[in-house]
Symmetry: C3
Subunit: 473 residues, 3 copies
């Protein structure tokens, strides 16, 4: 064991360990590591960029909002109360500093996880911290971070610039008024910051508030949403509104990839049921399935890229959901049938030249069996980067292994960081770029790609592909 | 990036890039690379070998019939009209040379795909072309190929010999009269060229023409095919007829692996329905399922090897199918249950010593979970090589990774090229041999196989296994 | 091919073949190879340790009881009669020496399989045999083994000590009186040898004897098992009895991961049906599903670790089952839904701090998609080591590849040998340790782990994790 430098900072991390792939990959990585970042899908808070205020304390930045981190600590018996995660009943939870101490004492649990890579990288890049987080270093690191957070170069807009973020998209629901993006427009920042149209609030009929939401949607757009055509027209108007604030894409979070293509009378009957609250689970799924096809048809009209994030079973722990609400770590992937699921949508408009659907996948068994063959046929389909638990070194390796040969490199949509954690953005893109260069380096070393093709592809996958997939200028 | 030679021609391509596996694999490859080719399953056109005429122009050879190539171009928005793919309505499509130009301009899309490997290898082997296909080189390469196609050494029979094809099987339907094989018999070529009995035309009741086909089947064989026993006897006779033209195997293309073992009265009732056109989708599946078991029972009688190609969902794009028919790139794999599916067949005759079923798989999740355990138990089951999208370097790596430990090397059926593209045959076998030697080289370098065992296995998997699996002399 | 030493004995076997990972992995392996063995789950015969008699002849030791070996030989057409496997009808089968000869002549079939690794290792470790088993060496190796079996150092208790087995658990059914463990208690060996509570005989209502078994269960415990609470109390008492003989865990062999959480009246109605023999397959599954939840609730009470071995389809060959009974090689894995299956159990008690469930998996597609995300959230869930066909070098590689990033290292339960073959125990742990060190060595070489973390994790996964997961002292 020759290396004594901290593992997370080694300049060759994740690259092949042996020659000749090592040198090839390193050279490729040098050529892409400083390219600007394209962040066409994510969940950063637009108020950060609109208000440009200092981030709160370290725990609120690195711990409380990060469900990857929270879930791992919980899995080893650490309570969310002790980690300072707010309760719905307003009951007391640990304060920021003691939650941080608990986190630090258990940071060894993250050995080998992407979370550790992202956090270590963030610590180093933004705060110059090279010590390993632990019970011993917890307090000192807390102070270092807390002190730096007020510095001008750590304010949100400055970070976008220093991270070389050329474009970043946030994600807002259809009923959102986009107040922060209005402010960003006033300040001339739309373009670098963009919204995304995510109409789950008015397309997911499994939500208790669905009828109320659709009613609001009608009021917001002046459309008669009790009629199917009016409902679609409301979407049409709202998509136009979002495009004013930079939106180039829509996004759809769905448990399955099911789509439908119903007759007009069937659609109206379904809407009637939903608005009357008479729909059951099967109706709800059918409504969502039909709405996906409607969104695709609107994309054919207006050219917005359609993102489908399919396959998560949400809120699998009722106790957690009752105590603290959604997005706290209890969402678990399931199997997904893309061929059967997308059949109705693709049969209706899959050959439209103006349509670009990007599929995000949690069921890796579909990479080689379904997604790569589909993306390698349909002009309207691209495969998004590895998502969620699979946005990791091994996840990226399995992805490239399984999709490239059948889909080719040019049916991939490049990288998405898909994060709520602003500071992790450079780390996530860096892991992707290192893994891409590793992959291309290995294939070049095996004489499967020429050196010049590998160089082109490294840039394509690190930068150009995402711009092209999302039609970014 | 030290290498400047074209990637597709490097003598060490696909072999391990690092020592010591590299030298071991290279030595293994040297020992097998010139072995004759056994091609026991494929879709070359028997008229080529019967008539021995020159191949038409380059586009008709490399582009129009290759659904791998067409689908990738379509996936990036290139229309089949512009690629010269014939329309059912007889409408105009691009001529050969302009289609070729379009293909060449977009050839960069194939970086990293098996198609590029096969095409580059064919260009080099048959035509001495070492330039990369591109918009710039399109015309010159077209002319080079076109000029050479009339040369005696590029006529089909000469190619079989120069490729060292010891045996090649074509695939014909049950109703086929085998006129080309009759000619080949006259010319003494049966043995090097063989037919295969693929009775899907009379076993797949989802086809509109099924009743008519079964009627023809009765006329062809003189059997009363309105009775179940007569139908089976018709198969018995037809299999015998095919064996006269070298057939050693049957082949069955099925969407699932479902089999059945019905009572005689149930079988007759099912046949009555099918002949009367009163069957629904469930009946059609049951008919196909029962016919698989019947085919296995006939194999027990006559010793023909039974090939099952399961798991493709055909013609998933109705627009394409309407415009240009089947086999144009819109077939997509799905999940397959082999344990449940084959239960009826194996329960009926799985222990018969005379039975050899070779399973071809599109759902890689079944390799380690179902197929390897089944092939490692049933004497009647072998695992075919990676098929279709998985006939690729990564596909072969995933296959060997997942099947060998449980099935052993001796329950594998060696390699099949399964191609419609005669010129790609040497390239496909070469990729398999390189990957086998890579795998054996790595395992030898890890001291998991002795050098002598690796040498034996390299030959076995490159040549002997296919001969043994298909009972070829 | 430089190496001429027998492959199975090379000191670097399975470690990375190339530097720098090779040296790192080798150093890690040196640090763990001699650690004591923790064997918390397996199927060795407790009478061996109780009676401490010499093992019978070589075939009875290495061939007849090993379904891995039998199935592979059968798959190549060798009959179980010729291998000496007893018939239910008492018909003649080959004697030990001629069965051994048949095995040896076909030993080449095991190239690349874990069986060969374990057997070669056992031959070398226990008998000093370095020759390869073959038709030529069969007789001499038979004699060598047979002669040594009577030596004092090859008696079962001596082997436990020389193998450094710190603790080994056997597995007994709920109705078992544990006579061998009673003898072991008298001899002061409980602790080194332990039982495990496997109540499938009274929880699996698909068994013909279920009603009779439950009746016996009532007699054994003095509980009224016709009432649901009495049935649960009978388990409560029986678990306590097993704990007297060292049991720290329960074990449950189930075809699916389905659990249920019924109302009291539903439970009683289900029990009434089962006891009256009026239950169908759906009832039987529901009974089993509910009993899993009951077992979890009892584990919350008494702290016993709960092992779930899910996903095997048993006895898929009716002919074999009729001729020779279960566990002869015809059990085949199937797909398993862990998220849906465990929902009822986890919803009921998944957050209980006292609960530890270890999941054993045959459907590798669930590693990254379901198991790792679940173990990385629920404090009550850990992932067991690769099981059965996946307890192999490639199986361990796929496992570590897919679980570590999301579950972390500390949600893994270490290693289980899960074997009926006492002599294979050191070989199996050795493969696991080599593969763990290979994995950690590669990640260290890629600068993903520090050298000190890798050293800690090597020991953790080789020894500490299993002790901790099973609460062993």
């Amino acid at each position: 064991m020759t290396s004594s430098a901290p593992s997370h900072l080694h300049p060759d991390r994740l690259l092949p360990a042996s020659e000749p792939a090592k040198s090839i990959a390193r050279e490729l990585y040098e050529s892409v590591k400083d390219l600007p970042l394209i962040c066409p899908h994510g969940h950063t808070d637009p108020s950060w960029f609109a208000d440009n205020q200092r981030f709160p304390d370290p725990a609120s930045l690195f711990l409380i909002p990060d469900h990857y981190v929270l879930r791992m600590l919980r899995s080893r018996g650490i309570s969310y109360d002790d980690l300072g995660v707010p309760r719905r009943d307003g009951g007391p939870v640990a304060d920021s500093r003691s939650a941080w101490q608990k986190f630090a004492e258990n940071y060894y649990l993250f050995a080998g996880t992407p979370s550790k890579t992202w956090i270590d990288h963030s610590f180093s890049l933004a705060f110059g911290i090279e010590d390993e987080l632990s019970g011993d270093t917890a307090s000192q690191i807390y102070d270092t971070i807390d002190k730096r957070l007020g510095d001008a170069d750590l304010l949100p807009r400055a970070l976008l610039d220093s991270f070389k973020v050329e474009a970043i998209a946030t994600t807002e629901f259809a009923l959102d008024d986009l107040p922060h993006h209005q402010k960003l427009a006033t300040d001339g920042l739309i373009g670098q910051v963009r919204t995304t149209y995510r109409p789950d609030d008015v397309t997911d009929a499994s939500r208790p508030a669905i009828a109320e939401n659709i009613k609001k949607f009608g009021e917001l757009t002046g459309e008669d949403v009790t009629k199917w055509d009016g409902l679609i027209n409301a979407h049409r108007k709202r998509r136009e509104y979002f495009r004013k604030f930079g939106a180039v894409a829509t996004d759809h979070g769905v448990p399955t990839a099911m789509t439908a293509d119903l007759e007009p009378s069937e659609k109206q009957a379904l809407l009637d049921k939903v608005l009357a609250g008479r729909h059951d689970a099967v109706d709800a799924e059918l409504f969502r399935a039909q709405m996906l096809t409607e969104m695709a048809l609107l994309s054919v009209e207006d050219g917005m890229v359609m993102q489908i994030h399919a396959g998560s079973r949400r809120n699998t722990d009722p106790l957690l959901f009752g105590e603290r609400g959604p997005d706290k770590g209890a969402d678990i992937p399931g199997t997904t049938d893309y061929v059967g699921g997308l059949q109705a949508l693709l049969g209706r408009c899959g050959n439209e030249p103006n349509l670009n659907i990007i599929m995000f996948v949690l069921d890796e068994t579909t990479y080689a069996r379904e997604l790569a063959p589909m993306a390698g046929y349909w002009s309207s389909l691209q495969i998004g980067p590895p998502w969620w638990f699979h946005d990791s070194p091994q996840g990226i390796r399995r992805y490239l292994d399984q999709v490239v040969e059948t889909a080719g490199f040019y049916n991939l949509a490049g990288f998405n960081d898909d994060t709520r954690a602003l500071l992790s953005i450079p780390a996530r893109h860096d892991v992707w770029r290192r893994e891409v260069c590793r992959f291309l380096g290995e294939w070049t070393a095996e004489h499967r790609l020429s050196a010049s093709t590998a160089t082109e592809l490294a840039k394509h996958l690190s930068y150009d592909a995402a711009k092209a997939a999302y039609h970014l200028p």
